[in-house]
Symmetry: C2
Subunit: 360 residues, 2 copies
């Protein structure tokens, strides 16, 4: 029986998507084989790929002067791809990065290997529990781009706005893409590993403005090049076809559910329910600044961390899966991606209330 799954990623997928994939797994469209057993260059798979792209374009209103790529690997590969694709040509090998947690740290470390990284602002001194005010940012002259992580999965910190900058804006949106409407035209590049709001792990979506496709460092490895991928319809190499197909099913599901506007309302409701409960409790605590709280990942601690293991075990028995926090910050974490229902959060809050009563 399906349980409520709060995994931070690879995360819960919509049940109807999994059901569809299950029904078609051995015999897709009555063709006598699985969608994962056909050539990526067959007309049948090309149709899957193009439909997925079109649905994603529809969902996020992606303008025509942006390419949409489906690439192997996740955000980590893009941490390398960003400087390799943007540090060439006439641009300076210098970029601005916002440092707001674990994932932006990783992106910074990789970019530093290829050029000068200017940390525009950091929240490190407060354990990454807020988004630094834009007024405090120290942008550099002639940066090739500014990079930020729109949602820090581990620290539970989310940008409540899109940064306004004069250079191309690059965003790692792995953990909050498709959770709300998005002004794509404000960005140079948006990338996201699939395993939170898109599909299974092993594939990522990269949305890149056409004029940024010619800035690659000459020696860029072929598999990291957005230009090569764009010219080949993301099929310069054999793509992760089953992951692409599943992502397409998720996009269809999102459209049927009312798209990102409906998701935004639902995500607001889900996260508010949990934050309100935590804030009205003396037993649970979330330390993120109110204005920077993530709608996707809600880390919280118990009044007594000796109860952590008991909480996780009892939650699992109650059908509430994968609530253990990341090893680097401890405590608990509930991830509330699109595929996590309101009922799941209601059940979680009910369990938390009960647990507090018995152990508080």
């Amino acid at each position: 029986m399906r349980q409520f799954n709060f995994c931070s990623g690879p995360a819960a997928l919509p049940q109807s998507v999994l059901l569809q994939a299950q029904q078609q797994l051995l015999d897709w469209q009555g063709r006598g084989c699985s969608v994962m057993e056909i050539s990526h260059r067959s007309p049948e798979f090309i149709a899957v790929a193009e439909q997925a792209e079109q649905d994603l374009r529809d969902l996020l209103s992606i303008p025509r002067h942006y390419k949409v790529l489906f690439l192997s690997g996740g955000a980590t590969a893009q941490f390398s791809a960003v400087p390799w694709n943007l540090f060439g040509g006439d641009s300076f090998r210098r970029a601005d990065y916002l440092q707001t947690g674990h994932w932006s740290n990783k992106a910074i470390a990789e970019a530093r290997r290829y050029g000068e990284v200017n940390v525009v602002a950091t929240s490190a001194e407060q354990n990454f529990n807020y988004v630094p005010e834009a007024a405090s940012w120290q942008a550099s002259e002639g940066a090739a781009y500014l990079h930020y992580t729109s949602n820090e999965t581990i620290h539970g910190v989310e940008f409540p706005y899109v940064p306004e900058v004069s250079c191309p804006l690059i965003a790692d949106m792995s953990s909050n893409i498709l959770s709300q409407p998005l002004a794509v035209e404000k960005f140079g590049v948006i990338y996201a590993g699939a395993q939170k709001n898109i599909g299974p792990s092993g594939i990522s979506v990269v949305i890149v403005r056409d004029d940024l496709l010619d800035r690659a460092v000459a020696e860029i490895p072929r598999s990291l090049s957005w230009k090569v991928a764009a010219d080949a319809g993301s099929m310069d190499n054999t793509p992760a076809t089953f992951a692409w197909y599943l992502s397409g099913l998720v996009f269809k599901w999102l459209k049927a559910e009312g798209g990102v506007t409906a998701m935004a309302a639902l995500n607001q409701r889900k996260s508010s329910l949990l934050y309100d409960f935590i804030d009205h409790s003396n037993f649970y605590h979330n330390s993120v600044a109110l204005s920077s709280r993530s709608r996707m990942n809600v880390p919280f601690t118990l009044a007594d961390n000796k109860l952590d293991a008991l909480f996780v075990n009892e939650a699992t028995e109650a059908g509430l899966l994968n609530l253990k926090g990341h090893r680097s910050v401890g405590g608990m974490r509930a991830s509330l991606y699109n595929a996590v229902s309101l009922q799941a959060v209601q059940a979680l809050v009910a369990f938390m209330g009960d647990f507090e009563q018995r152990n508080g």
Copy 2:
């Protein structure tokens, strides 16, 4: 209903593997979620990953001084990874490559961007229809490695032996790994995209000798580094968990079927059946030198190429899928990977005989 599928890749998977995946797709091990909806760092998934590695080690008798990596992407990513991982340190930026078809060409083109490539031997002058005699090879002094493609999927050419060289031997085995026993200790590195004999596309296996992990070029992108992957158990980034899990199911299936020794016998029988039929026909033709014929991919032409479309259509109607040849060489191609049964090849030969009678 399942049909006989001769796709060159992404290729047919064993039906029992797909059935198992189907049964578990929404509720894996009774845990209330899919295997693709849990953290790669969870004990449950670590167990999947470790079992898959162990089964692969058992199947190929991989010595302990080799690491086994499961990486995002396929062989194309490894075309970059090979020079980046082996052109650093004290080694010359020079490598020997055997040029035997489409895929070795791709590997050569990518390596040339990072160092000197010496083409040891080529069969280009005969449209890549044979493996050049080892006696003719022109090895270079001080090459960092020698690279070859053990099976050329498009041209249907397979090395009938393992090259003997004095530098580390690197093999792209994407399309014939696990098809027969293998002396892994003769190799420095073996790599293979999964989508032929291992699992779905989007993941690759890299088997690398420990002493070759310290030869990377300093600027190697993190996602291409075998050392980084080896140190992190292939989890420096979120791996393609579902593809890894499916690969593990294929390894279990292979073991149950008798391992690579049984596969070698079966593959020999399947390919001999088809080649014998072609050779005894005046209607069908395969132009590959006898000693270099691939047991995995059998390209063939019809006496009149105006009949190609009819052949493909009638074959499809007869339940024989994906026989159209690669666009670069035309004609037909039957791929006979491990998961393609003897019955499938018998049905193909019967159809071919019938088609010849009606159209020959």
